[in-house]
Symmetry: C2
Subunit: 475 residues, 2 copies
């Protein structure tokens, strides 16, 4: 009954919220499904199928899906490709509604045999009304319902959805989220996209109330029907961040080997992404950085950024890199400079922008300095760089100073964002003091602040956010 | 007598190999000089000067440099800017040969007062024949002689020299070297470059037999005399990797605030760097990655790279990124594909390039596959991506499998480089299994192999190495 209510509105609900799950071809080799699902809220409704074993990892094994004593909504196929059609027939008879085919050996091999096998699978699935995820994919991670596709995935529920043609990248991106301080509503690796595809998934997630941002990795599409409208609609509703793989000629060829689809030309895709107002990125790090910006900050109202750092060299290099990504680092107004001059001793400091003032970090005057900067009319966003090594030295005599400092700085950043409407990014640089670095970073992430590993990363995210904002204004 | 011999050939020897060192204005605040130097081979010849203390960190303090009972070659100034001239006069009378002025508050403030103070310092230094490093700088790190400018710097001696206008970046880059697996011959932060400047330092390092590669961070120059000839000569002798700070208008303004010099226009610099055949980079990560390539590999003979990975998504994205940086990822020859087909099972694998074959990593057939790839005529370099998480899973049943695998893979890479003349880069990606990741990375680094954090990083390095090679061919 619970399921019926869930699936009434949109037919992909059963993909993310199955009542029960079976793993066909269960073995220790796919412990990355068995271990986490058997520990999740689905544990009582998770069934292993393997005719050659009676028990795996302490769980009973059934010889066939037809022997499972309860209804099964969602079946994971981890059997050789050739066996899939037969097992799928059994699923049809059992009343299974979703077949997630983990197995590879289909069209992605480029062999005629693999393509024919896919056609056979699709025919059986259509015959029984089974939705197919894959083949050649990791499937679904939905911590809310209890679906997992790898070890050590967080059970925390967040609001980021991620759709990926690649299985490895789907798993990797969840960990990228962990290190960037965000969690997921739903992640899908859809592989060869024989049935459920990119367009349908994005369409579903656009309407999903549990999802506030959609990230997507796509190589190419079997069907482009409804693509433009779907992406347009989705990016009207929530930020849509897309990494298009196979933009170059060599890359398109690699994509064809990977998931058996033609990747299309770079120009067509770039035009598409611009037209549908998606945020286009080149790497997963950039995608995660942009998502952090959307989640914990917001688009700046202009290109002017202030860099606040303790290193003059960093200030110079990163000014160049900000300009390179389309921001600018304007001089503070005379008024701001005058106000800063009253707060910060002059020797060894630059108070024009970047604000290079280690004594401000050491002397406890940083909140006032940041407040001053945030009121400058030429400044639309701030990036504050913290070098853990420096902190470690300053706070050696009073260990509690770190906690105090991070808390005050965090509150200051929130205040600047709330009261002055200027996104304020915190950078915690890589350090040999890795534990110390992690501690500072975690404190800010737990305060739901946008944390980056370098000024360059923060600048790229701000630039993406600004472009997103511009695309919304030009209608 | 020892010193006289050292300095006879080039007059900057005393800067790097002083017989004795004094720290004027010693206090716990500059423990980053006191602690490491007092633990180095200079410890018996290291003297603290401070009229207000008799002892700091267990070391005797002298009221004035004139009270130090032995000759002093190298004095570090950590006193307020205004006191520097007077203390320098004392140094002159003492016979000090190098004054490294850590103190800031000179021309970099943009104030007339600071500029005048610098002129005064230069006059006194010239009068006594004292060479000045700085002001506003960290000075010299030379593990061979015992000079250190921060806590926790490695005492290992390497062959990389680094010259930096910025003190913070000089320190940071040493740690960047540590994480990239290389050590230093000499590092100099020269700050405002009142006397010893970029040109003179590069000129010295070009002839330094202990230095095989020179990295440099430069914002702008007070004097450009001899610049072109010096850089040309240096890059004829050894790779010269330059990060130019202040390339953009905003960046140049930031540089003026930082070290009180005009940074010059981007175009002039880019032209310069090309003309002198230097390797130009935009970030310190890229500099370290290029250095790793020169140290542990060599320039490829062409643009064709093979990507070997266990993730199809990674293969596609990184093919695009390789193309973006000027490499290409050509299909293997028919011959290579045929040979690979005999080694690698087809399902889930792509054997065209990228070589996406997790079973090759798992099944122990990787060396043979790599050897086959390295003999392909279209392939000039290889990048092998290892995902620590995958390893962890494969080797769960036999922990010694990791050591065996890394050793065999490392030997295979060396063989490919030595016998087929193709640079072979190893990528160990970021992982939640950070200890495991570090262990694998360290094993390869200890074998003196080129290790990178992403295929993109390795590709950027290969591209820089290839450009370097091309610039040598076009004379």
């Amino acid at each position: 009954m619970w399921l019926r209510q869930m699936v009434s509105s949109r037919n992909l609900d059963v993909v993310f919220y199955p009542r029960s799950v079976a793993l066909i071809g269960a073995s220790k080799e796919v412990g990355f499904y068995i271990d986490p699902i058997s520990a999740s809220r689905l544990r009582e409704k998770f069934f292993l199928v393997n005719p050659r074993s009676s028990e795996i990892s302490g769980l009973k094994c059934y010889p066939s899906i037809l022997d499972v004593p309860e209804p099964v909504d969602y079946a994971i196929f981890a059997v050789p490709a050739k066996i899939v059609p037969e097992a799928l027939e059994d699923c049809g008879r059992k009343g299974v509604r979703v077949a997630h085919i983990y197995s590879s050996g289909f069209s992605e091999t480029g062999l005629e045999e693999g393509k024919m096998l896919e056609e056979e699978v699709l025919k059986i699935a259509k015959n029984y009304g089974i939705r197919v995820i894959g083949p050649n994919c990791m499937g679904v991670y939905c911590p809310e319902s209890g679906l997992f596709f790898a070890h050590n995935l967080p059970s925390e529920v967040g609001s980021v959805a991620f759709v990926s043609q690649s299985g490895g990248q789907a798993v990797n991106f969840v960990f990228e989220g962990v290190s960037h301080g965000f969690s997921f509503s739903k992640v899908v690796s859809y592989g060869n996209a024989l049935d459920v595809d990119f367009v349908e998934l994005v369409d579903y997630l656009a309407e999903d109330p549990k999802t506030s941002i959609i990230g997507a990795y796509v190589e190419g599409l079997r069907k482009t029907e409804g693509l433009l409208e779907t992406l347009k609609n989705a990016s009207e509703k929530k930020p849509l961040v897309i990494l298009k793989g196979g933009k170059t000629g060599d890359g398109a060829r690699a994509a064809a080997s990977h998931t058996g689809v033609l990747a299309g030309s770079a120009k067509i895709w770039e035009g598409f992404l611009k037209q549908v107002k998606a945020v286009s990125v080149d790497t997963f790090e950039d995608m995660a950085d942009a998502i952090v910006g959307f989640l914990y900050a917001f688009p700046p109202k202009g290109r002017g950024v202030s860099i606040v750092t303790t290193s003059g060299g960093s200030a110079v290099i990163h000014t160049d890199l900000c300009v390179k990504v389309g921001l600018n680092v304007p001089s503070f107004s005379e008024e701001t400079q005058g106000a800063l001059r009253k707060i910060i001793p002059i020797a060894g400091a630059s108070i024009r922008n970047p604000l290079d003032a280690w004594m401000a970090f050491q002397g406890g005057i940083l909140p006032e300095a940041l407040n001053t900067v945030s009121q400058d009319e030429y400044i639309h966003s701030l990036i504050i760089e913290l070098q853990p090594g420096g902190f470690k030295v300053y706070t050696a005599r009073d260990p509690s100073a770190v906690d105090k400092f991070t808390l005050i700085l965090g509150e200051t950043c929130k205040k600047i964002m709330n009261e002055h409407g200027k996104p304020t990014m915190i950078v915690v640089t890589k350090s040999i003091y890795s534990e110390f670095e992690a501690k500072i970073k975690n404190t800010f992430q737990n305060m739901n602040l946008p944390v980056y590993q370098s000024i360059y990363d923060a600048a790229k995210a701000l630039s993406k956010l600004y472009q997103h904002q511009l695309s919304r204004e030009v209608r």
